[in-house]
Symmetry: C2
Subunit: 205 residues, 2 copies
């Protein structure tokens, strides 16, 4: 059975990391309470990505948290990760499902209601929806905004997370749209104190 | 059963293509007699790569020639390609095999005898060995040379192809090492007359 919680979904990006080591940073975030982890490495090569994904899967599973791998379905499957996250330029959801069991989590990116409905129809298990706010780590999207996030929430029944520019300060607004949570990169990994950063999110009700 | 012939192994690289369209270029090369095709697109995104791989697989199979996909095992499997080619920085051969049947072709890159023996032991079905000559399309390798290619030929029993800088003029030297053939990029796709380029190779005995 697929069990995952989008409430505070940590997405890795080594470029914004202030800690010396990705695994140490993710472990601190897990201890502090992130609810899901995605390993994202857009420039990664297969061999190194597989090694890191295996290390992250072992770490995440010690905290009973699923690991999702961005883009590379082959790395996701071989690493023993729990799922894959597919952007609009990545493998189509319905194609990816042909290589996975039904219990494998497939997440998709949606920039608008149309993409959200299409991904749900294709069998996506959750949606990362954005860009909710302006951000430095993603430049490829037309901003969706909080209103757009609310519109997607009304249109689909699968869990959704807001992504891009979400901080502890605007997290309440994201949750107020009805979204199940937020995917966060730099507001956690780009800080010098990950525990404090995660706690600041989790205190928001 | 795995049947493939490394004699004249066309590797795609759209950056060096002089034809307007990759499929047209590959079809002309197939008509002229290349014996194996690899779809390589190091900067490709999953969705587009899958579309191109499917189109190339349909094309190659019309000519009864197998299609190999570079690096992306997920794209290779979903496209119905016959195999995957894995460089030293890509997924390890023995890991990739866990996702494929025994009849799926797995090729590996070897830069020296040690890598060649390791890839063979890991279950590779063939080796691309190089760099045989200096080339513009690959800068990441210490040249192997013809002597190195001959040393690999003596060390392993699986089929091997020389790669990098092979032209119709030096192709005879490559075959004289005992290699089964050569993998060629720009000496076919970088020309303005692919039929003539392929025929020039095939006339070499």
């Amino acid at each position: 059975m697929k069990t995952f919680n989008l409430r505070l979904y940590l997405v890795t990006d080594e470029a914004c990391l202030r800690y010396a080591n990705l695994l140490d940073a993710v472990e601190e975030a897990l201890q502090a309470g992130v609810t899901l982890v995605q390993y994202r490495d857009k420039k990664g090569l297969g061999k190194e990505m597989l090694q890191k994904a295996v290390a992250l899967r072992i770490l995440c599973h010690r905290y009973h948290i699923p690991l999702i791998v961005n883009d590379r379905l082959d790395v996701a499957l071989l690493s023993g990760a729990d799922g894959v996250h597919l952007g609009q330029d990545d493998l189509p959801v319905e194609e990816a499902r042909r290589l996975t069991g039904p219990d494998f989590i497939i997440g998709a990116t949606a920039h608008n209601v149309q993409e959200a409905l299409a991904a749900q129809a294709a069998g996506a298990d959750y949606l990362g929806c954005g860009a909710v706010f302006a951000t430095e780590t993603k430049h490829d999207t037309v901003p969706l905004g909080l209103e757009g996030l609310r519109a997607i929430r009304k249109a689909v029944h699968i869990p959704i997370a807001g992504i891009a520019g979400v901080t502890a300060k605007n997290y309440r607004q994201v949750l107020a749209t009805g979204a199940d949570g937020a995917a966060v990169v730099s507001a956690i990994l780009g800080t010098e104190d990950i525990t404090t950063a995660v706690k600041a999110f989790l205190e928001v009700k």
